[in-house]
Amino acid sequence: MPSSAPGAPLIRLDKVTRTIGDGVVTTLVRDIDLEIRGGEFAAIVGPSGSGKSSLLYLLGLLDAPTAGDVLVQGENANHLNEAARAHLRLSLLGFVFQFHFLLPEFTALANVMLPMRALRKLDERAMQERAEGLLASLGLAEHAHKTPDKLSGGQRQRVAIARALANEPMVLLADEPTGNLDTASSEQVLEIFRRLVDETGRAIVMVTHDLDLAARTDRQIRIVDGRIV
């Protein structure tokens, strides 16, 4: 269960701009002010190339802004070194991508245990119990010892969600999590997200180009040409 001061933003973007390129400069996002609070299920929507994923990567500290500040639990991430930013990602944030990105040589259980083993907060037995519990809660109990190539697309994505939840992150960041899934699997993923928000009070920020999916979230953040509109 994530802990933070009630109502306080978990992540805050303050006049954030991200540009790339040295000669020809391309602006990915511009002057973004955004707050993500606990218990919030938000969707970032917008046309292709509008900066949805870039915004998500900035929220998740995978990328650093060219200008402006990213504050995680009030701490300015711009002032942190690579290791400290990595630790914040490991302990406070969880990621789910369009492609599952599971390590192919590891079983589903081992993949889910990876973030826990990296954080080293629990002993081996507790980590295994927690990973098995997560997989069971996502309907994957009998697939725990299978490698990703033995799982279907929907199952892989659910394992990726379990891995993202391994360290009980405050915020789950999902980049087109249903982009590669069929309708039934997409529906399953959305139900899991809803349950997580309602039952655990986590914040979920999901990038999607599917307006029907976005409509089922609590908040839609529309972005066009790198600006929130």
């Binding site: 994923s53 990567y57 998740g60 995978l62 990328d63 690579e82 290791a83 990595a86 630790h87 914040l88 990602r89 490991l90 302990s91 944030l93 990621f95 991508f97 369009q98 492609f99 990105f101 390590l103 192919p104 040589e105 590891f106 990876l114 973030p115 083993r117 990296a118 954080l119 891995r163 980049d175 087109e176 982009g179």
Partner: protein
């Protein structure tokens, strides 16, 4: 660390064929390095052993290292003399038995007096130059391996007849002398002496066997024309490596030139040092070449695993952790290759050691092999260091992967 090891192990195991090739590369490098070191050091030690065993460790001769200081130097600070006549002195060490008693009381080693001279051996119309050394057989047995080198007779045979002589077996063969034959020695002063061959000597070193002859001290003194002459004192020390320091001490005490076996063979030992430098350079080069294989494998793995690296970093793995994963993979390959290399090196050394050969210079019939754990440790250290460096470069590159670049490309 266990997580890093698990991931590294999984990577190297999943690329089994490449990993095996890399391990074999390192194993070959380590194996051949060990074999080469065993052979080089073996032959060097064998040569030194024969040399040191054949001769006394220290020889005190009736010579001074520096010319005696002239009184005029003290009076006028003269820098040059011409027409200087030095007084003629009797050859030989003064009071040799007093010096021997002193050295024995200091327990520096076993001590034996000897008379060294050069002579021409004349037999059956042939003249051959030889080194004739007068010895005291009882004492000589304590300072050299001479008794064990005597063939067809014994060292005590020198007492069996008057003017008895022991010849190096190659020397005897050269002049055609046999046991019981009488040969003629002609000293540098023109003195002649008839001697009876009582035994042969076989040191196993061609230079000694071809030129050396031994008589009793008394016989050598008569040949030199000076009764009581002792122009060399031979010493055998407990630890051969102490010989240089002991020789220096004796020289300070007696004033006579005291030469250790190291000083006598300085040029040979420095040649061995150069040989060692060459050997370790070649060993390093072999292992460096092997490390290119490791570099290639780790580079391939990091290239294939770029997406995994990106996801590990997005999960919260630090650059340091990612670097350690791939560095550890290189070390695993290097270490496994080293273990195989130990076996290979030992097997190659055994195989080489079993090869028979005949050398005109030394007596050995098999290649001398030195089995020394240091060779294994040096090869291991160099192999692991080379593997580490080979792995570090791709590991550093892997650690710098920007996850966003990869995730965007893969989505």
């Amino acid at each position: 660390m266990k997580l890093v090891l698990d991931i590294a192990w999984t990577h190297v195991r999943s690329r089994l064929r490449q990993t095996l090739v890399g391990m074999l590369g390192v194993a070959m490098g380590v194996g051949f390095s060990i074999m080469m070191a065993a052979l080089m050091v073996g032959s060097q030690n064998d040569f030194i052993r024969q040399l040191v065993d054949s001769l006394p460790h220290i020889t005190i001769r009736d010579e001074r290292r520096d010319p005696p200081r002239q009184p005029v130097e003290d009076l006028y600070q003269a820098v040059q003399f011409s027409g200087l006549r030095t007084p003629v002195t009797r050859p030989g060490i003064k009071n040799p038995y007093a010096i021997i008693a002193t050295l024995e009381s200091q327990k520096l080693g076993k001590v034996a007096p000897s008379v060294e001279s050069r002579a021409v051996i004349r037999y059956a119309g042939r003249d051959t130059a030889a080194s004739v050394t007068g010895i005291d057989p009882k004492r000589e047995a304590k300072v050299s391996k001479l008794p064990s080198q005597i063939r067809a007779g014994s060292l005590s045979s020198l007492y069996a007849s008057s003017n008895a002589i022991i010849l190096g077996d190659r020397l005897a063969a050269k002049i055609g002398a046999r046991i019981g034959n009488t040969i003629t020695l002609v000293a540098g002063n023109g003195r002649r002496m008839s001697c009876t061959v009582v035994a042969f000597l076989h040191a196993g070193v061609a230079n000694i066997d071809e030129t050396q002859a031994y008589t009793l001290n008394k016989t050598a003194q008569i040949l030199a024309g000076q009764i009581g002459l002792v122009n060399a004192i031979r010493i055998r020390v407990g630890h051969i490596l102490d010989a240089r320091a002991i020789a220096a001490r004796i020289e300070t005490q007696t004033g006579y030139k005291s030469v250790s076996w190291q000083e006598a063979n300085e040029d040979l030992l420095s040649a061995f040092e150069i040989r060692n430098v060459i050997m370790y350079t070649v060993v390093g080069a072999i292992l460096l070449v092997a490390s290119f294989g490791t570099y290639n494998i780790i580079s391939t793995i990091t290239h294939e695993k770029t997406r995994d690296i990106a996801i590990l970093k997005s999960l919260g793995f630090t650059e340091r952790t990612v670097r350690r994963i791939f560095l550890l993979e290189a070390i695993i390959i290097g270490f496994a290759g080293t273990i195989i290399g130990w076996g290979l090196g030992y097997a190659l050394s055994r195989a080489l050691g079993s090869i028979e050969f005949k050398s005109p210079f030394v007596d050995a019939t098999h290649l001398p092999i030195e089995y020394d754990v240091t060779h294994y440790l040096i090869a291991t250290a160099v192999a692991l260091a080379a593997s580490g460096i080979a792995g570090y470069l791709p590991a550093r590159k892997a650690a710098r992967v920007h996850p966003v670049d990869i995730i965007r490309g893969a989505s």
